[in-house]
């Protein structure tokens, strides 16, 4: 058995059902909001978007960037881990042989299709040498054609910076760093 209590049923008074007082109450609310928002923007929640931005949360996965070595070269060793794990197949890496025998491989071309990317962050997890990160806090800007979203290694490196992570398990204190 369910007990139901009728709370606001037909118990309006004649004054309430004449609309008069209730309309005045409503008007006082709307006018208060109008004055407050006109004079001080007190309750206004809308942002004037491009000029005012709400910062993204710290762990927001935004645009990728390719990190650099101390000498400015790309950290990526073209191991293909990110391209393999990528569920959207948006990473294309063309590997090449590096002159430095300690580095062996490096990407001649590293491109990400930001239209295909699902921003899952698996590439960042998969990377063994902290070469790719998604911590720019930005999202792709609008482009006038699809090719604009196809980002090359140069652009990705421009977003990147030097990484302090130690690469390839080689420690600086064993004389090879």
């Amino acid at each position: 058995m369910i007990r139901v209590r009728e709370k606001y049923g037909d118990r309006m008074t004649a004054l309430e059902s004449s609309y008069l007082t209730e309309t005045l109450k409503g008007l006082s609310i709307t006018l208060r909001h109008f004055l407050e928002n006109t004079l001080t923007r007190k309750n206004t929640v809308t942002l004037n978007y491009p000029e005012e931005k709400k910062p993204y949360p710290e762990r927001f996965r935004g645009l990728h960037r390719l990190m650099k070595r101390d000498d400015g070269q790309v950290r990526c060793v073209a191991c293909m881990c990110c391209a393999t794990v990528c569920p959207a197949h948006c990473i294309k890496i063309e590997a090449g042989e590096h002159d430095d025998h300690r580095i062996e491989k490096f990407p001649i071309e590293f491109s990400i299709d930001w239209l295909r990317c699902v921003y899952c962050g698996l590439c960042v997890d998969a990377c063994p040498c902290d070469a790719i990160r998604m911590d720019t806090g930005e999202h792709p800007k609008p482009q006038i054609d699809r090719n604009g979203f196809l980002t090359t290694k140069i652009d990705l490196m421009k977003l990147g910076g030097p990484s302090v992570a130690v690469q390839g398990g080689v420690r600086p204190d064993n004389g090879e760093g």
């Binding site: 369910i2 007990r3 139901v4 049923g9 004449s18 409503g26 008007l27 909001h33 928002n37 809308t46």
Partner: protein, 387 residues
């Protein structure tokens, strides 16, 4: 020749005020005001040379857009009536401004039947809505048109009857004469003689403009856009502008009837030039204030259900307005004209009308439409809930 020139000048001035300033600004003010009420920012993007002016350029952008827009018409329309409908709606709204006395000088035509002329022409506006709905050959348009005509029938009666009380008080129907009769101290204004009539007039006028909370003919959540569903481009704008102009028309009429028109309280008009300008400014200030109130009500109340609109019109507003006419007529005949006694008696009469209306409403509360008392209904409901 000179008369023609002056008349032309007046026509240009009045229509510059109404069509050039008030209506475009109303669109901006309404969007901006609703934004402020709803804790938003509102339109502020249209800019000329990087200068935005709080979105004041949006009306210009809107006009350019609407003028260059395709005039899309349904193939099954009635060709002539579909084109004529927006003209009727727009014309009837605009032409009534001919008798509105903006100032002692600024009135296009001082007709003897001033207020009656306004009612006669403004009632024609509903033909625009009705014809538009029928000629569009669309079921939603037709429903909107039927709603518009039914609502107009219900509220035009109240609208006319509320004005009768004021006309009895000032014993004239000429618009300019009504304003002149309200000269002197502020308690000579119509609102201090007929406060109930003002409230009734305000509500009925809002219904006559077909704006929220009485926008059933549009009812976008039920019948898409109602009677102007099949209109686009400038034809649509004519309905839209007509609606705004009608809003200003009723505000202007309320100013004339209840707020002394261009009369500045306690300051007599003896042909001073500065008074003519100050009077027009005062008239427009009151007009804008009433229009602002109408807009605020729009963003305060939700739309009435159809039967609620009819109940409000026929069961509450109409009896109250008839009672007001009777009480006013009795008081005017029974008391010496222009005395303090008459003023007090009018206010007492108004209070009596309000109290009787509320008492009747309270007495009717006990019964709902099918004749079951609410107490019985509640018992029945709670029994059903228990089982």
């Amino acid at each position: 020749m000179e008369l023609l020139l002056i008349s032309t000048l007046k026509v240009i001035l009045v229509f510059a005020i109404v069509l050039g300033a008030l209506s475009p600004l109303a669109g901006w003010a309404e969007r901006r005001q609703s934004a402020m009420i709803q804790d938003r920012v509102g339109p502020n993007r249209a800019s000329i040379g990087g200068f935005r002016a709080w979105g004041l350029f949006h009306p210009i952008a809107d006009v350019i857009k609407l003028m260059t827009k395709e005039d899309f018409v349904p193939a099954t329309r009635n060709r002539y009536l579909h084109t004529a409908a927006p003209m009727i709606a727009f014309w009837s709204a605009v032409v009534t401004f001919a008798v509105i006395p903006f100032g002692p000088w600024l009135q296009i035509a001082n007709l003897d039947i001033g207020v009656l002329f306004i009612f006669g022409i403004a009632s024609l506006g509903v033909y625009g809505a009705t014809i538009a709905g029928w000629a569009s050959n669309n079921k939603y348009s037709l429903l909107g048109a039927l709603r518009a005509s039914a609502m107009m029938l219900s509220y035009e009666v109240t609208l006319g009857l509320t004005v009768v009380g004021v006309l009895i008080c000032f014993s004239t129907v000429g618009a300019q004469e009504l304003v002149v009769a309200q000269a002197g101290p502020i308690w000579n204004w119509g609102i201090f003689k007929q406060p109930v009539a003002f409230v009734l007039f305000f509500v009925a006028a809002m219904a006559a403009t077909k704006r929220a909370p009485f926008d059933l003919p549009e009812g976008e959540s039920e019948i898409v856009a109602g009677y102007f569903l099949e209109y686009s481009g400038m034809k649509f704008v004519m309905f839209y502008m007509g609606e705004y102009i009608e809003m200003f028309l009723w505000s202007a009429l309320a100013t004339v009837l209840f707020f002394g028109g261009w009369q500045i309280p306690w300051v007599p008009f003896e042909g001073q030039t500065w008074y003519e300008f100050a009077g027009v400014a005062k008239f427009l200030a009151v007009l804008v204030a009433i229009a602002f109130l109408q807009m605020t009500v729009r963003w305060t109340l939700p739309r009435f259900r159809y039967d609620q609109v009819m109940d409000l019109g026929w069961k509450m507003l109409l009896p109250a307005s008839i009672g007001n006419v009777v009480v006013t007529a009795v008081v005017i005949i029974a008391t010496p004209a222009g005395g303090v006694l008459q003023r007090v008696a009018l206010l007492v009469g108004n209070a009596v009308v309000v109290l009787v209306a509320l008492a009747v409403a309270a007495a009717m509360k006990g019964e709902n439409k099918i004749g079951v008392t609410t107490e019985a209904l509640r018992t029945q409901r709670s029994e059903e809930a228990v089982h």
